[in-house]
C-alpha cells in the first residue's frame, strides 16, 4: 500500500469541522431533553392512560420503531411542507430526532415504570394521591434509576444516528465532512478526523452520564 496521508488539508479546515461537531452536539442534546420529556409522558399514558390513548401511544411507538429514520426525516422535511408545515433543515432534524428518540425512550421508561413494585403504588393510593401524582412523586425516580444505563446507550445511538441528517442539508459534522471530502478529495483523512470527533463526543457523553447518575441517583440518595 502506497497511500500517503495528508492531514494538513483537513486540519486547515478544522474550524469548519468543529462547528459541525458543535451542531451535532446541540442537535443531539436538544433532542435528548425533549425526547425524554416525550418519553416520560408517553410511558405514563401507555401504562395508566385511558384505553384509546394507550392504543394511540402504542401506535406511535411501534410506528416509529419499525420504520427507517431516514424516511421519517424525509417526511418531515420534504412532505410536511405540502400540508403547510415548514421546518428549516436543522429544525426538521431536531423534530425527527425527538420523535424517534421519544419512541425508543418511551419503551425504555415504560420498562422502568413496570419494574417498580406494585406495593409502592398502593402506598400512594392509600395516601389519597392521584394517579399522575403517584407517577410523578413515587414511580418516576426509581424507574429512571433502573433504566438509566439503557437510556444513556439510546442517547449515544441518537447522537451517532444524527449523521444521517446531512441528507436534508443540516450542516452537522457528517455534512461538513462530506463537503470537505468533495472539495479536497482526501476522503480517508477527512473521515478519519470525523470518526475521531464522533468517538470523542460519544466518550465524553458517556462520562457525563456516569457523573449524572452518580450525582442524581447515588449522592442524592445518601442525603
Amino acid at each position: 500500500m502506497t497511500y500517503v496521508f495528508q492531514f494538513g488539508i483537513v486540519f486547515d479546515q478544522l474550524p469548519l469541522l468543529l462547528e459541525g461537531a458543535l451542531l451535532t452536539i446541540r442537535l443531539a442534546a436538544t433532542a435528548m431533553v425533549f425526547g425524554l420529556a416525550v418519553a416520560v409522558m408517553c410511558a405514563y399514558l401507555r401504562t395508566s392512560g385511558p384505553k384509546p390513548v394507550r392504543v394511540l401511544v402504542a401506535a406511535y411507538v411501534e410506528g416509529i420503531r419499525n420504520t427507517p429514520f431516514l424516511v421519517q426525516l424525509y417526511i418531515i422535511y420534504f412532505s410536511l411542507p405540502a400540508l403547510g408545515i415548514r421546518f428549516e433543515a436543522n429544525q426538521a432534524a431536531v423534530v425527527a430526532m425527538v420523535v424517534s428518540f421519544g419512541a425508543y425512550a418511551t419503551e425504555i421508561v415504560r420498562a422502568g415504570v413496570q419494574s417498580v413494585p406494585v406495593g409502592q403504588v398502593e402506598v400512594g393510593l392509600a395516601l389519597g394521591l392521584k394517579r399522575f401524582q403517584i407517577y410523578r412523586l413515587i414511580v418516576l425516580f426509581p424507574a429512571l434509576k433502573v433504566v438509566f444505563p439503557a437510556l444513556a446507550s439510546q442517547f449515544i445511538l441518537l447522537l451517532l444516528g444524527s449523521s444521517v441528517v446531512s441528507a436534508i442539508s443540516a450542516n452537522e459534522l457528517t455534512a461538513v465532512a462530506n463537503s470537505l471530502q468533495s472539495t479536497t478529495f482526501r476522503a480517508f483523512e477527512v473521515y478519519i478526523v470525523a470518526t475521531v470527533m464522533y468517538l470523542t463526543i460519544a466518550v465524553a457523553f458517556r462520562g457525563f452520564f456516569a457523573a449524572l447518575y452518580w450525582i442524581v441517583f447515588v449522592r442524592g440518595r445518601e442525603r
Partner: protein, 265 residues
C-alpha cells in the same frame, strides 16, 4: 570492431530516420483510418444524457450519436471504445482510440496533453427556480436559499459568483436537491441546464424556469497530439455540422435543451 566517427554518424542517421519515420506515421492517422475503414472513438456510458446504455445495453446519448454521425460522414466503420471518465484521455494517449468524444470540457489543463477540436457540444450550469422567485442575475441570489448537490460542477462555480448573504445548502444527491426545490425548502437550485429542464417538464404545476446561466463548459473532440490531419478533418466536420444543424439536432434530441451558440477554438 573498430568504432569510427563514420560508424557513429551512420548510427545517428539511422536513429534519426526511425524517429522521423514514426513521426510521419503519426501524422498519417487519417490515411490509416481511411485505409482500415475503421475509426475508434471513446464512449463513456455513465454520464447521461451524453453517454448512456439504452435498454438493449447499447451505447447511446448525444456524444455517442455524434460519434456515429462522424464515422458515417467519414465513410468508415465505427468502433466504440468504452471508457470510464478518468480513462478518456489515457485511451487516446495509449492509442486505444483515435478520437475522444465523451463530454470532455475544453480546458487549458487538458490541452497540455491532448489537442482539442472546435467545440461540438456544451454543458451549462444554471440557476433554476419557480416563476414567483425573483432572480435575474447572480446579484439577486443575496438573501435567497440556494440548493445544490455535493461533488458537482455547480458546487465549484456557483459559490464563486454568489454575493455575500447567499445561503447555499448542500445535499448528497440530485434527487434530494430537486425535492428540496419542489417542496419549497429552497428558493432555487443550481444544476445542469438539461436536469432543470427535465425537472420543469415533469412538474409543470411548479412553474420551474431557468433564471440565468452561471457558466457554460464547451465540449470538444480530442485527438492525440501530433495528429494534425485527423484534427483538421474533425474541425472541418464540426464546422459543417454546426452550419447544417446536425449537431444541434442530436444535442436537442438527447438532452432536451437547445444547444448554445458554439464559438470556434
Amino acid at each position: 570492431m573498430q568504432v569510427t566517427v563514420r560508424h557513429l554518424a551512420a548510427a545517428c542517421a539511422a536513429l534519426f530516420a526511425v524517429a522521423i519515420g514514426s513521426q510521419a506515421a503519426d501524422a498519417q492517422a487519417l490515411d490509416r483510418i481511411l485505409k482500415d475503414k475503421k475509426i475508434r472513438i471513446t464512449a463513456e456510458v455513465t454520464s447521461p444524457p451524453f453517454g448512456i446504455l439504452d435498454k438493449d445495453n447499447k451505447p447511446t446519448g448525444s456524444e455517442v450519436e455524434t460519434a456515429r454521425q462522424l464515422a458515417k460522414d467519414l465513410g468508415v466503420e465505427l468502433e466504440l471504445v468504452q471508457v470510464t471518465g478518468p480513462q478518456r484521455i489515457p485511451a487516446l494517449l495509449s492509442d486505444r482510440a483515435d478520437l475522444a468524444i465523451s463530454s470532455l470540457s475544453i480546458t487549458t489543463d487538458r490541452a497540455k496533453t491532448v489537442w482539442f477540436s472546435s467545440p461540438h457540444g456544451a454543458l451549462s450550469i444554471v440557476i433554476g427556480g419557480g416563476k414567483n422567485v425573483n432572480i435575474k442575475s447572480a446579484a439577486d441570489l443575496a438573501g435567497k436559499k440556494i440548493g445544490m448537490t455535493r461533488a458537482t460542477l455547480e458546487e465549484q462555480v456557483v459559490p464563486k459568483v454568489a454575493p455575500p448573504g447567499t445561503n447555499i445548502v448542500f445535499f448528497d444527491e440530485h434527487s434530494a436537491t430537486q425535492q428540496a426545490l419542489l417542496s419549497g425548502q429552497v428558493d432555487a437550485i443550481g444544476g445542469a441546464a438539461f436536469l432543470l429542464n427535465e425537472l420543469g417538464k415533469r412538474n409543470p404545476d411548479k412553474g420551474i424556469e431557468t433564471k440565468f446561466t452561471v457558466v457554460t463548459a464547451f465540449y470538444g473532440i480530442a485527438v492525440k497530439p501530433g495528429n494534425f490531419d485527423l484534427l483538421q478533418w474533425v474541425n472541418t466536420w464540426v464546422f459543417v455540422n454546426k452550419q447544417n444543424g446536425v449537431l444541434a439536432k442530436i444535442y436537442k434530441e438527447h438532452t432536451g435543451v437547445d444547444l448554445v451558440d458554439l464559438p470556434n477554438l
